[in-house]
Amino acid sequence: MRGVLLIASNFAREQRWPILLLILGVLALALMGLTVDLQKQQEDALFLFKELSIYGIAFSVFFGGSAINTERRSRRILAVLSKSISRSQYVMGLLAGVGLAAGLYCFTLGITGTWLLGDIGFSRSHLWFLMACLLAACLLAASVSVLYSTFLNPFLATIATALTLTLPAGTTRFAGAGWQHVLPVHTLMDVVLQAAFRGDWVADWTLVALSLVQAAGICGLAAWIFTSRDIAVALD
């Protein structure tokens, strides 16, 4: 477990500049609260909040899809895997690192949202539920991109992840609602994107838990594939 945490914290440290950039984007939203009359521009503020949520998913996919390849290309993976770290611990560590980055992002977005949207009538508990949905979606999306990155380059891994995550959304429309529980990134994002100032909301924690279980399963599959991969051969 300690090895996983070390790899996770090291990943977050290595990605500190992109993470900082993302957080600065959120803080730019906070600046809006100081400069505009939010009571009059409620919907615009909520729209920006939703837009930033989608960025969170996109960056999780990019982080997950490039993590292994970046380490291989730089050859830094060799010194790490020469220690008593198993391949599965390594993959779990990378995913935990993406989770850490996504968690930081969601927390910052949650704090900013609480301050901006909470003051103009958006339910604060609803907002934190949305952040939980976003974090779960980020983790699930990242696990899929990590899975593909074990055998594809970052570009192909990102495309494959995008296709995989949109497939259940399309299938739900044609083949029934049961599909919304398969890789439910789109369902979770639907919850975030449908959020409104007025109207009832229900916290469906089952969906969040289901996403986390699926993320863990996909992470296990990624670890299993990565265990049998040669990592020191020339790339591409």
Binding site: R13, R76, L78, K83, S84, I231, A232
Partner: protein
């Protein structure tokens, strides 16, 4: 003597998606004994790095198997007792002490022991004064020494080093050479891949030369260096002197003959009344042996393709 590292009929074939398969190692067998410094030599593309990466579990053999410290290659627990330095080491950009501690922590060290081991490892490569500097600002040679420190941090029983002195200046090379000898003195084993043949000649107890994935020569360094067919005879002849103050003078003569010709040559020298001072096998350099082995492999290849 027990072995710390063993290859058993290991082959490794790279199969790219496009193009022909490349065989990096063929039925490769080798044993590294406990407490020795083992030199692993070969030209570029011989399969040395592939063999090392198989040992460390970075890749899997196409056939055959290997044992590292009593467990199969790739076992994470056995790596805790191994220190590894990759060729052209790449490290995270953070202060040297923090970096070495990070690698130590990955190997299960913690607390005061981690601090102590990290300090000792940096001291061993003479980088204590640079411990707080960011590795990203180090020269290539200094980064290589930090790489060596991370390999040493867990006090390994076996060090696997791929070109550990390639970027070092002569002073740092001496430091590393003395470090390796000190480690051997403590009972540790070292598996050393290097192109610096003079270094290998100086520190290695045994040497293997691999060419195109095949083991071409294996033996004790001293035996290989003295395995020449050529013998040197040093003899002394007493001749009449031209000098007005002396009636005779000694003339030292040096003669190189093959082992087969040795009895005849000695007979001739004694018959001439000369005194034989010494008969020794010609000392060769590792470079000569290396070139001879690679040439042998090359001509064997040509013969088989013909």
């Amino acid at each position: 003597m027990s072995s710390v590292l063993q290859f058993e009929q290991v082959s490794k074939v790279y199969r790219p998606w496009l193009g022909r398969p490349v065989t990096a190692l063929r039925d490769f067998s080798l044993k590294v004994e406990c407490g020795e410094i083992f030199g692993f030599l070969g030209p570029n593309g011989a399969g040395k790095t592939t063999a090392i990466h198989l040992v460390m579990g970075f890749m899997q053999p196409s056939s055959g198997s290997g044992i590292l410290l009593g467990r199969p290659f790739g076992d994470a627990h056995s790596r805790r007792r191994v220190g590894f330095l990759a060729e052209n080491v790449a490290l995270y950009h953070r202060p040297a002490a923090s970096l070495v501690k990070f690698y130590g922590a990955l190997n299960g060290l913690r607390g005061a022991e981690l601090d102590r081991r990290a300090a000792a490892a940096l001291d061993a490569v003479q980088l204590t004064s640079e411990a707080r500097r960011n590795v990203g600002k180090f020269s290539r040679g200094m980064a290589q020494r930090v790489g060596l420190a991370q390999a040493l941090v867990n006090d390994p029983e076996l060090l696997v080093l791929d070109e550990p002195t390639s970027a070092l200046d002569p002073i740092a090379r001496v430091v590393v050479r003395e470090l390796l000898l000190k480690l051997r003195g403590e009972g540790k084993s070292v598996f050393l891949s290097s192109h610096l043949l003079s270094e290998v000649e100086l520190v290695c107890d045994r040497v293997a030369i691999v060419v195109k994935g095949r083991l071409m020569r294996l033996g004790r360094t001293a035996d290989l260096l003295h395995s020449s067919e050529q013998m040197r005879i040093l003899h002394r002849r007493i001749v009449a002197s031209d000098s007005p103050t002396a009636t005779t003078r000694m003339q030292l003569q040096d003669e190189v003959v093959s082992r087969r010709e040795l009895p005849g040559a000695l007979q001739r020298i004694w018959s001439a009344g000369d005194e034989v001072l010494s008969v020794n096998p010609m000392q060769r350099t590792m470079e000569e042996i290396f070139l001879e082995v690679t040439a042998e492999a090359e001509s064997a290849d040509q013969a088989s393709s013909a």
